[in-house]
């Protein structure tokens, strides 16, 4: 039967391709090192490594239970299943304690672990491969001298065929470009430094660039906006919906404090990013800001005109929802220049309210914005225990109607139920 023959041929072809791929993508193990063989580290290198770890947001994924730095175990949701972040403390058994610098460099640049296993690109080596050997050296020096935590990481929970690690080698052929970035001489040194950090260790595109069906960033749509654990990572290019076009000055302040008076507070996964960048050198954050500001349109005007600061009149709004808005929201979101201790901006400035999807507005209402430890930063209480789904949805639509000139959202119910389940 020809049909059966086609199936057999296809199966054989796939098997051969897998076999060839396996042989060709095999990587040797790199010999383990004993604790005594770890290189000694001088303080400036260690400190530089700490700054690079902050810029790379390493601890956002690799954080352990009870906030133990770099101890690993945090589940990272992907469209293909769940991956648990590895332990990158110097524990020999469960961490990277027996990794030489060569093994660490290979992981960062090629996405292969010390034993030669392919690493899933949830670990963003498609960006880290741009890091210079000097920077990888400093990062290694920093991590290998962290407090040791013994913490065995559960195996990843991926659906077939993604649970078969060698297929990652095929992914790399398609999507991993190991060539280093070359400075653009027509741009300033700060811009080039910023590009190096944003494209490399900062891996901003991991969230802010949309991904294709194989989970790789779409190169032709760089920074057009993507997904961050269910939150929308807004576009950084000309598709930005910000009410004021981001300038390098505004980005510098926002990235290093988590807040700007014309843009509001970093929330969700971005809150952690800004907390980390607060510990990075100011000139590096400024350089990143310059590069990011250059990604969006040259015109200073917002691509979508903002609504008035006090909002539009909303015809037909339910009096009950208006009462809830006035009682629960308007004390902080008072539409005045004086933002008060919560640092709540007029919602006419909020990108979350102006985005085409309701993901961020819904999540901010449900989960609030936690102040950064030790800082009097922006704060919003979580309303998830206070309001039911119907009220959250109506409030979000009311805010959308009042503070933008955009159509009502159509994805509210799905977003509320996804956010309530904590899923992405």
């Amino acid at each position: 039967m020809p049909f059966r023959r086609v199936i057999v041929a296809a199966v054989v072809a796939v098997a051969l391709m897998l076999l060839a791929g396996f042989a060709w993508t095999w990587r040797p193990a790199i010999a383990p090192i004993a604790a005594a063989e770890r290189p000694s580290v001088d303080e400036p290198t260690f400190r530089h490594g700490a700054e690079l770890a902050a810029i790379g947001n390493c601890n956002d994924c690799h954080v352990g239970d009870s906030g133990k730095p770099y101890a690993g175990g945090r589940p990272i949701p992907t469209p293909f299943g769940k991956i648990f972040a590895s332990n990158i403390t110097p524990d020999a058994e469960t961490g990277i304690g027996n990794w030489s610098e060569e093994a660490f460099h290979r992981a960062m640049h090629e996405g292969v672990d010390r034993e030669g296993r392919q690493l899933y690109p949830a670990f963003p080596y498609d960006h880290f491969t741009k890091a210079t050997s000097d920077d990888v050296h400093a990062l290694y020096a920093f991590l290998i001298n962290q407090p040791l935590v013994h913490n065995a990481i559960p195996p990843s929970q991926l659906a077939f065929p993604f649970n078969f690690r060698p297929i990652v080698a095929g992914w790399k052929v398609l999507f991993l470009r190991e060539t280093p970035l070359r400075d653009d001489d027509s741009k300033s040194a700060a811009w080039n430094r910023g590009r190096y950090l944003v494209e490399g260790l900062g891996h901003c595109g991991s969230c802010h660039t949309p991904r294709n069906i194989l989970g790789a960033e779409k190169r032709n749509r760089a920074y057009a906006g993507g997904d961050a654990e269910g939150w929308e990572a807004p576009p950084l290019n000309s598709n930005s919906v910000a009410a004021h076009k981001w300038t390098a000055d505004q980005l510098t302040e926002y990235l290093s404090t988590g807040w700007h008076r014309l843009h509001g507070a970093a929330a969700g996964p971005m809150a952690d990013v800004t907390y980390n960048l607060a510990q990075a050198p100011t000139q590096d954050v400024r350089a990143m800001a310059e590069y990011i500001a250059s990604l969006s349109a040259q015109s200073a005007a917002a691509s979508i005109a903002p609504a008035p600061r006090h909002g539009n009149p909303v015809a037909g709004a339910s009096p009950e929802i208006v009462a809830i808005y006035n009682g629960a929201c308007a004390n902080c979101h008072n539409d005045r220049n004086d933002v008060g201790p919560s640092k709540a901006i007029s919602l006419s400035l909020s990108s979350a309210v102006r985005e085409s999807g309701s993901a961020n507005t819904v999540r901010v209402i449900l989960q609030g914005i936690e102040p950064q430890p030790g800082s009097p930063g922006a704060y919003m209480p979580a309303f998830e225990a206070m309001f039911g789904d119907g009220e959250i949805g109506s409030l979000a639509q009311y805010v959308r109607a009042r503070y933008t000139n955009q159509p009502q959202w159509t994805d509210i119910r799905q977003e509320i139920s996804k956010a309530r389940q904590g899923g992405s």
């Binding site: 208006v322 209480p381 039911g388």
Partner: protein, 150 residues
Amino acid sequence: MTNALHINGEIHTIDAEPSTPLLYVLRNELGLHGPKFGCGLGQCGACMVHVDGRATYSCILPIAAVGARKITTLEGLLEEGKPNKLQQAFIDEQAAQCGYCISGMVMRAQALLLVNPHPTDDQIRKHMRPNLCRCGTHAAIMRAIKRAAV
């Protein structure tokens, strides 16, 4: 506008604007002075009450949004007019200095013990983090919660 509110096991009919924060009704209409006005912005936790058993800021909860849900204040925790186990633990550990935050602390801690009768120190710290105390009696508050959790 009248609203029927279920508070500490009784139904109260309240005549107030629907945007009125629940806290104002509790304190000014019903004389329940356990919950305190602290910041009025849902930041400090002094106003905390239970809404269907979950710790909630009453200063930013408009009565229009309460509906048929059951409200419990510090007074509602009393058992036959006497402090309940957690309230007694706060007294025994002398967990108040000025005392302004304590009603909110008790309500927040009680909400944790309702779902997790034996929390770890880490779970207590994480759960209590939104409630502020300016006197610094956190260590005594921790002891009180652990005493009640045994």
